[in-house]
Amino acid sequence: MSVDKETVKKIASLSRIAVTEAEADALVPELNNILGWVEQLGEVDCSKVEPMTAVIPNKLRLRDDVVSDGYVRDKVLANAPAAEHGFFGVPKVIE
């Protein structure tokens, strides 16, 4: 299958990455090259194969079911571009 400019713009939007018209044009052949190359995987008969979920057998451990706020609020906020009143600040979401 082939990726066109509209698809590139849609992927960019899903990826939350702004692209200019020129960038979208440039990405069309780049993505097509890479996707065309990975499509060779379709040759492999995998009808009886389970997809890999864990590369090394390992039992998933669960954390103790304990409520905690982490007690590190200030550290969590220390790198925020805009922290106010103990929260992350973002542009207005609801009018």
Partner: protein, 494 residues
């Protein structure tokens, strides 16, 4: 006696322990080396105070007669993918500009606990995406090596752990941390003539290591030789309850058990690793490696890993898919940069921040990952790639029925010039053709410097082992090292 800056981990540690020199002298030596090597662009942040503080602690402990740690007195370079408390960490990306971790990664904490100090944070391909160190937002790392043609073409140190490779080969740091997702420790180690080790997936905690592809990323040592890698990995590895994929197993004493006699070992030569257009020198070196391992007592057997040709395409679906998810956290809200155009809403802020913060290769991979995970394509791409990954892993399982370890070249070429491949992402991806399959299977592997090509540039050989058989990999690596007697070093021009 050799100058201090020429020494590796084992020699520094024993020199400090026996009182030949103090840890402070060692730290000062390397602090000077780091600040004199700025033209290589390998160090993003210098941390002399950290190295000195660790050295003083070691000297004090020695004076008090205390038992010294495994890395006592050894200052190291830290790949900038490891979060280090109070020291800027960027993963080579502008999007983390200004980020100062409030916590220490488990790997760096383990190394510091073992007595190591930190000389600086090392440049790398942005978010570990690259094989040449040309994707860093802070400029290319330049390899200390030059071709022997009398020219001064700047060469790639390999990637993504290119800063680590450059400082160890230039004797600017005695050792450095690296991380390997598809070959990012082994390929740069081969390019600059040092030893690099990727342990079994889960040996080293990923906690506090900036994530690229979580099912593949593993930290490992980059050092002068096999012994130094064994010492350093013992200090880095270990169970960590903070990483759910960390293996709850004791860390073996790899250094104490090093043994280069391979009597009784069967070494597999995978026939599918003979790729088209491989330079004859690499083929010849591989053959030489076979002779060396025979000389060490091993038996050579040919094995088949039939799905080898599908490893790279599977990797370039799985790794971007995981990256697109991991890198969703860089949104301009919680840390790093924020680009907020006038009047922009939340969604516009995300898109603008990510547009200006990520480099082209990172954006390309995020978009590939988003595409292969999107509705309608998930099964055709992602599920299929995960199934092929199962087959690749089964190929190795089958090979282990007839051999104990595998011998292959590390990379399909010697180091190339900066800029020579950067226009073609696919050509760049092919650099990892020999390292990616073992990464997909989570297996331990080492690259050992084994010879020089006709341009005078290093070439590496790779040993791959069964899951958790780090010892076997180290031992075969040692057998190669003893026979290759690789002593070439870059001449200091920087």
């Amino acid at each position: 006696m050799a100058e201090i800056f020429e020494l590796g981990i084992a020699d520094i540690r024993s020199g400090v322990a026996s009182g030949d020199f103090t840890a402070k002298e060692v730290a000062e030596t390397f602090i000077d080396r780091v600040s004199a090597a700025k033209s290589l662009n390998a160090v993003l942040v210098e941390t002399p105070d950290h190295a000195l503080a660790a050295a003083e602690a070691t000297d004090k402990a020695k004076a008090a007669g205390e038992t010294l740690g495994k890395m006592a007195g050894v200052p190291i370079g830290m790949k900038d993918l490891f979060c280090t408390e109070g020291v800027a960490t960027t993963a080579g990306s502008l999007i983390l500009d200004g980020f100062t971790p409030q916590y220490e990664s488990t790997v760096s904490a383990n190394l510091f606990k073992a007595g190591a100090g930190m000389l600086g944070k090392l440049n790398m391909d942005q978010f570990a995406m690259g094989s040449s160190n040309e994707t860093s937002a802070f400029g290319n790392v330049i390899s200390p090596w030059r071709r022997n043609d009398g020219g001064n073409t700047d060469l790639a140190p390999g990637g993504s752990s290119g800063g680590s490779a450059a400082v160890v080969s230039g004797r600017i740091c005695p050792a450095a941390t690296g991380t390997d997702t598809g070959g990012s420790i082994r390929q740069p180690a081969a390019f600059v003539g040092i030893t690099g080790f990727k342990p079994t997936y889960g040996r080293c905690s990923r906690w506090g290591t900036i994530a690229f592809a979580s099912s593949l990323d593993q930290a490992g040592p980059m050092a002068h030789d096999v012994r130094d890698c064994a010492i350093m990995l013992e200090s880095m590895a270990g169970f960590d309850p903070k990483d759910s994929t960390s293996l709850d197993l004791p860390v073996p004493e790899w250094e104490a058990s090093l043994k280069s006699d391979l009597t009784g070992k069967r070494i597999g030569i995978p026939k599918e690793y003979r790729v088209d257009n491989m330079p004859p020198e690499i083929d010849a070196l591989w053959q030489q490696g076979i002779e060396w391992l025979k000389d060490a007592g091993a038996k050579i057997v040919e094995v088949s890993l039939p799905h080898t040709k599908y490893a790279l395409p599977a990797y370039y679906i799985i790794a971007p898919a995981e990256a697109s998810s991991n890198l969703a956290r860089y949104d301009g809200v919680r840390y790093g940069m924020r680009d907020l155009p006038d009047g922009a809403g939340l969604q516009d802020m995300y898109a603008a921040t990510r547009e200006s913060g990520f480099g082209p290769e990172v954006k390309r991979r995020i978009m590939i990952g988003t595409y292969v995970l999107s509705a309608g394509y998930y099964d055709a791409y992602y599920t299929q790639a995960q199934k092929v990954r199962t087959l690749i892993s089964q190929d190795f399982d089958k090979a282990w029925e007839s051999c104990d370890l595998l011998l292959t070249p590390t990379a399909p070429s010697a180091a190339f010039g900066l800029g020579e491949k950067s226009d073609d992402p696919l050509a760049m991806y092919l650099n990892d053709v020999f390292t990616v399959p073992s990464s997909l299977a989570g297996l331990p592997a080492i690259s050992v410097p084994a010879g020089l090509d006709r341009q005078g540039l290093p070439l590496g050989l790779q040993i791959i082992g069964r899951a958790l058989d780090e010892q076997g990999v180290f031992n075969a690596g040692l057998a190669l090292e003893e026979r290759a007697s690789f002593v070439a070093k870059p001449e200091q021009w920087w």
